[in-house]
Symmetry: C2
Subunit: 449 residues, 2 copies
């Protein structure tokens, strides 16, 4: 057993090996910590990481297993947590100097769920300022001169660079899908309300989602299976029957899936390189894909997204905006001002579009398509660290609250990753992951001579 | 059997007699129609009433029963429906010339539930303009020079005048409790979301409730038992275990209830007459009642109520406000303008107070009190028909979405009815009705020499 490469194991592989006693959690966490030492000087994915505390959890996990007690599905596996998600044993600073040194007294719902599944909470990953647009320190692990995307910058980069197999982020516009595409990992935004948000910094009740990062589809399903839960403290959480995500993603779809290729009116602004890659992908899928157009204009969607997100953000950051304006970035200050100016009727009008939009998408999904296939972003990670890139390709799916997945399938001519975004029907998260697996398998088969 | 007074039967009595074949639904409905002919020229409770159609339903109910098929709990019993609640077989005009002749294609959820219980849908009762403040034609059945209250004017008056034993209304501020007090009947606003609102004109998703009118507590419970149901088409409806409301209201409370007497800062504006009546009532209850104060100021509550109700109304009436301003009353026009000016942050800030308010009320209910006892209005029905009176005493309970009941217990020196408002804990609707029965029984016993 080569212990020096354990950090590239998938979570499912690692959990299996720990369960079977092939490796220990301490060995796995040590490999991940070694990887952090090797690469994080450049990547800077972590807002907080105490190696001793991570190892202490790993030791406890190993002792627990050796005591013969039954272990959870992530027993001994390290997970990175975006620094807007509360942890009782580590600071949670929300990417702002205003919350520097903030130490919550309780774990967020998702952190409790992870601990219940046996996970080691590795550390806190870098977020942009309050999960908005002003970047943190993280760089793209594929090229440090490029942004990792945001706002879940550290989570995407940490998973991509092999520092942890799994990480949690969030998405209010495109904060999971976009960095996943830029960093070349799977990023999943589940159906709104499926994963409880209690204990996560609330930017927008209507738009906030917990985001999942992993390097394999099986790992996305494994992680989602731990996190999909009812929690009354999240007002949008509802009791639901348990779905065996891992089992569904492993199934062959009953029929080969049918994809809807959606360029949107943003297509003209997509990099030529990326346009070409998408066109090849569509060619490759032949009669399994059809180009579609939506009735709704992207500009309108972005306007609704701004009204809802802006007003709700202005409420969430009311105290900060009133009492500590100077310590907010100028960009955030100006977004708060814009949010404060939104009229209630425009806010409510924008929200009223959500069920209508979902109604038209349900038809599309029920009548013909298993998934919409569309770019996650305008191209590969932009050069420079002053912006985290444009989330416009993610806004509609976030607004609708339907599942969206970045599949790290392609590469730009610059060598940087380029993802494919798949979007599925509300509460068909498991089927979307299964459709994605079909796509990956199909493309692997067709590219093998 | 004296068939000329059947219209004064309670719904429970009438349903029992129909079930046992003592009277027919046709006889009951004929008696109610005769009462309408006698008194409605003066009261004017009905926006739509087709005697032939009501009798046709009654005949069908009688035939169904005679066929030996099992019948529902309201089999053959006529119910009045506020004219903002859709009926597939009658117009629903929402109290506005703008919707004159509007004929919905489907029954509202509550109308379907009533038909399922065997009820005869008697007709549509007068509402104020779009269930807001501009009065309809109805007069107080106790004195035609006085308002019946609103917005459920016709429902309260029809039940009070013996034209139907039951009626449905609605409450967005005080539209059920206030007219029930003015007209001297039971009026009940259940917990928010308990009774589905699909197919009822939506003024405000946050504040709208279906309201119930009856002349006995048993009838309130009987009616609620038919209406408390989950309906996915109402976004605030949730699946819940069935509660046997009638059985609970018939029970003796495990302990004599404890009441919290709440004057609020509005007390100084309460009629001297009503103040005196309340003080006597409190004396009568002795050590079963304690005066309390709330931390929240009534002015603040009214401001939050205006922000939420105003903005949501401005959205609901957007088209009418844009395209047909001239056909709205000046008062409604001006309220729409005010609603349009509300900022989203103020709207959201107001809404954020609801869970906090409920938190503080839960403590009060869990620690000591079975019900809050407070005025339903500033006194008996004001003279004049140009206003439906002031709903301020109802605003907090509507905002909190907790159950509120008008108990027609008292009289002003002018001979007009004066109610007592009881308020209970969220989702303890059944217990509140039981507490009310204790109160009524206790006062009857103590007033008997």
């Amino acid at each position: 057993m080569d212990l020096t490469n354990l950090h590239w194991l998938s979570a499912a592989e690692a959990a299996g090996m720990i369960r079977d006693g092939v490796i220990s959690s301490v060995q796995l966490v040590e490999a991940c910590l070694a990887r952090v030492r090797d690469v994080d000087g450049q990547v800077q994915a972590w807002a907080f990481l105490d190696p001793e505390h991570a190892l202490a959890q790993a030791r406890a996990a190993d002792e627990f297993r050796l005591s013969g007690q039954p272990t959870g599905p992530l027993h001994g596996v390290p997970v990175g947590i975006k620094d807007i998600i509360d942890t009782a044993d580590m600071p949670t600073e929300n990417g702002s100097v205003l919350h520097a040194g903030r130490t919550p007294s309780r774990d967020a719902a998702v952190v409790s769920l992870l601990r219940g599944a046996g996970a080691v909470i590795m550390g806190k990953t870098v977020t942009t300022e309050f999960a908005t647009r002003t970047p943190g320190k993280t760089r793209n692990p594929h090229n440090p001169a490029h942004t990792p995307g945001g706002s879940s910058s550290g989570s995407a980069a940490a998973v991509a660079a092999g520092m942890v197999p799994l990480a949690l982020g969030s998405q209010t516009t495109g904060s999971t899908i976009r960095p996943a595409s830029y960093c070349g990992v799977y990023g999943f935004k589940p159906t709104h309300g499926l994963v409880p948000r209690h204990g996560m910094f609330q930017l927008s009740r209507t738009l906030d989602h917990v985001g999942l990062f992993a390097r394999s589809l099986e790992d996305v399903a494994l992680l989602l299976e731990q996190l999909a839960a009812h929690d009354e403290r999240d007002p949008d959480s509802r009791p639901r029957a348990r779905v065996p995500y891992r089992a569904v993603v492993a199934q062959e779809p009953p029929l080969p899936p049918m994809f809807a290729f959606l360029k949107t009116s943003l297509w003209d602004r997509v990099d030529g390189d990326a346009q070409k890659a998408f066109e090849e992908l569509v060619d490759n899928l032949g009669d399994r894909i059809e180009e579609i157009e939506l009735v709704v204009a992207t500009d309108e969607v972005l306007e609704w997204q701004r009204a809802i997100g802006g007003a709700e953000m202005a409420i969430s950051l009311r105290r900060e905006g009133d009492e500590a304006r100077d310590q907010l970035s100028p960009a955030l200050r100006s977004r708060i001002e814009q949010g404060r100016a939104v009229r209630a009727v425009d806010y409510l009008g924008a929200r009223a579009n959500i069920p209508e939009l979902n109604g038209s998408l349900i038809e599309l999904f029920e009548q013909r398509y298993d998934a919409i296939l569309t770019p996650p972003a305008f191209g590969t990670a932009p050069a420079g660290l002053e912006s985290t890139g444009d989330p416009a390709f993610c806004a509609l799916w976030t607004l609708c609250g339907i599942p969206a997945l970045n599949v790290p399938l392609m590469q730009g001519t610059n060598g940087l990753p380029l993802g494919v975004q798949l979007v599925g029907a509300r509460h068909r998260d498991a089927q979307l992951l299964r459709t994605a697996r079909w796509l990956v398998t199909h493309l692997e088969a067709s590219s093998t001579p």
